[in-house]
């Protein structure tokens, strides 16, 4: 198993993931910062490196609609978008979710207008947390490539059959080049079997998704709920299978830091990456601080989180999103821990909205500031301004 070292942007890494997954139908509409991802795929197709149909749709709503159609036709489908495009897709997001079509989509997170803003924020992806999609947040380019491949394996597992969003920050990851190990196609082929779908059969014609009366509808939603529940264990299985073949370990949650932490930073995506840099500095200076990186946001890893926080005094949740008056990650973490045996104090921070820089120095200062007053009662949401 020889893996070739490349220097790829996050978008390029995603495109390689799509190519290695042998996606067959790509339907996408351009939007910054996603464009270089779909352009790279188009280049792979043009050069004959990827045998796929690329549908140049006229809007994101149609991009996902086409993917749903393609998936029904038995083809492995892929799309990618950001902010406004993702919002324009929302009707189709539910359609793919509840329709159980295993589409994989890269969400290159971006702040939602108005005002216009092309830099990263997680609200666009997190606002879609109810649409029936599995959501995985990546914090560097290697993880993006690997997660696209894992996403298809999770999504197409018969026990799951749910679409997957692979989310990563616009520019800070999408346009940042980093070392990336690119697996061999043959190794990915043995990890990821081909996809097919036999719903459409002229011998046994089916009418897909016509009207359902309330009692039956209730039952269909329960069937969806069971699949969503099962997906947590399937995600773990796929992680382990990927680890055994490619040697890279991923989990629903990643715990980072050297010592038994008294305080955990909790973060996702590129904010978690900056948080790792901050934890390195803090640990070197002897501060008992760690990071809990939430990688799998849907289904939310409640059990793993409850176990991870045991022993900690406080959680410093770094939300690069906003749901009216609170960060979305904070509401999920608080909810997940409500009935837990061990419930550390929760300090909610809003960071990096609109693409504002989340510098590791500002995180170090904030944590030091907090450690001095960790026994006080948390005073609601704190907006963390980042300086150099």
């Amino acid at each position: 198993m020889v893996e070739q070292v490349e220097v790829l942007t996050g978008n390029a890494a995603a495109a390689y993931g799509v190519k290695l997954s042998r996606a067959q139908v790509i339907a996408a509409y351009p939007i910054t910062p996603q464009t270089t991802l779909v352009e790279r795929i188009a280049e792979f197709i043009a050069k004959g490196e990827l045998k796929a149909e690329y549908i140049k749709v006229e809007s994101e709503h149609s991009a996902l609609a086409a993917c749903i159609g393609a998936s029904l036709g038995g083809a492995r489908a892929f799309t990618a978008t950001s902010a406004q495009g993702l919002l324009l897709m929302q009707e189709m997001l539910f359609w793919a979710g509840y329709g159980r079509t295993p589409v994989v989509m890269a969400v290159v997170t971006r702040a939602i207008a108005p005002p216009w803003n092309m830099w990263s924020e997680h609200t666009d992806a997190l606002a879609q947390r109810d649409t029936g999609w599995i959501q995985i947040f990546c914090h560097n380019n290697q993880e993006v490539l690997d997660t696209i491949i894992q996403a298809y394996k999770i999504s197409e597992d018969k026990r799951v059959m749910l679409p997957v969003m692979v989310c990563f920050d616009g520019f800070e990851i999408s346009h940042t080049a980093e070392n990336v190990l690119v697996p061999e196609q043959s190794d990915v082929d043995s990890f990821l079997p081909p996809y097919n779908n036999d719903l459409i059969d002229v011998e046994k014609p089916k009418l897909l998704w016509n009207g359902v009366y309330p009692e039956d509808a209730f039952k269909f939603r329960f069937i969806f709920y069971e699949a969503a529940q099962r997906s947590l264990s399937v995600v773990e299985e796929v992680h382990y299978d990927f680890y055994s073949r490619f040697g890279r370990r991923y989990g629903a949650i990643e715990i980072y830091g050297e010592c038994e932490p008294k305080v955990f930073l909790v973060a996702m995506g590129s904010v978690a990456s900056s948080a790792k840099a901050a934890v390195d500095v803090l640990n070197r200076e002897g501060y008992p601080v760690g990071l809990i990186r939430i990688r799998l946001f849907r289904p939310f890893p409640t059990f793993e989180l409850q176990r991870a926080v045991e022993g900690a005094e406080a959680l410093v949740i770094l939300d690069r999103s906003l749901s009216f008056t609170r960060g979305i990650l904070s509401t999920e973490v608080a909810g997940a821990l409500y009935n837990a045996k061990w419930r550390p104090k929760i300090f909610e921070y809003i960071v990096g909205l609109g693409g504002a820089v989340v510098s590791h120095k500002s995180l170090v200062e904030a944590v030091k500031h907090l450690l001095a007053r960790v026994d006080e009662k948390p005073k609601g949401v704190v907006w963390l301004k980042s300086e150099g």
């Binding site: 070292v5 220097v7 910062p33 092309m118 830099w119 560097n140 920050d169 520019f171 800070e172 990851i173 346009h175 940042t176 080049a177 980093e178 070392n179 590129s270 904010v271 990456s273 900056s274 790792k276 840099a277 390195d280 693409g355 820089v357 989340v358 510098s359 590791h360 980042s386 150099g388």
Partner: protein, 184 residues
């Protein structure tokens, strides 16, 4: 970890230079990162790009505030406040200029090492027109010692498979040899 900042005008290939640098350094075993500033890159407008090289995985997701190496494609950019922001002692500044580095250092009050090379003249000689970004990489190799000329060649070919690599590398090699260190 070494942090670099590249400054120039839109259209001079500043972001590409950062990427070419990163790939070259990666070929020589470094963990790297390169990020273009995400502003609207209009031709002529000042642009910046960042790069890093380290012996371990890089977690930073922020601009380069205090560069170890500053690469300036256009001497006039030095008058811009943002170009010299966060300058620290010991920073190596590579400027595309036909001036002697001492004359440029004169206007900078930090203990920095200034290097100059006339990448414009060199590239015109071998390529017929000013190609600043690839040419400057030669000088950058000499003063940073982070990557070899061969790695630059591989990095350029990866990004521009149809480029006239021989002529490009002639300019790179000359820029590597003719870069002037202010102390001499």
């Amino acid at each position: 970890m070494i942090e670099l900042r590249f400054h120039g005008r839109g259209g001079q290939g500043v972001a590409t230079a950062a990427e070419l640098f990163a790939r070259a350094a990666a070929y020589d075993g470094w963990f790297v990162q390169s990020t273009p500033f995400f502003g609207a890159e209009r031709r002529g407008a000042l642009v910046v790009a960042y790069a890093r090289a380290s012996d371990s995985r890089i977690w930073l997701r922020e601009p380069v505030y205090n560069p170890d190496i500053l690469v300036v494609f256009d001497q006039r950019a030095l008058s811009e406040e943002s170009v010299l922001s966060g300058l620290k002692d010991g920073c190596k500044i590579l400027v595309n200029s036909n001036w002697h580095p001492k004359d440029i250092k004169a206007s900078i009050d930090k203990e920095v090492d200034v290097y100059t090379v006339d990448a414009t003249e060199i590239s015109v000689k071998y390529l017929g027109r000013p190609i600043i970004n690839t040419t400057l990489l030669g000088s950058l190799a000499s003063i940073s010692k982070l990557f070899s000329l061969n790695s630059i060649r591989r990095s350029i070919l990866y990004r521009f498979p149809k480029i006239n690599i021989e002529a490009t590398m002639k300019a790179v090699e000359e820029a590597a040899n003719r870069v002037v260190d202010m102390r001499y």
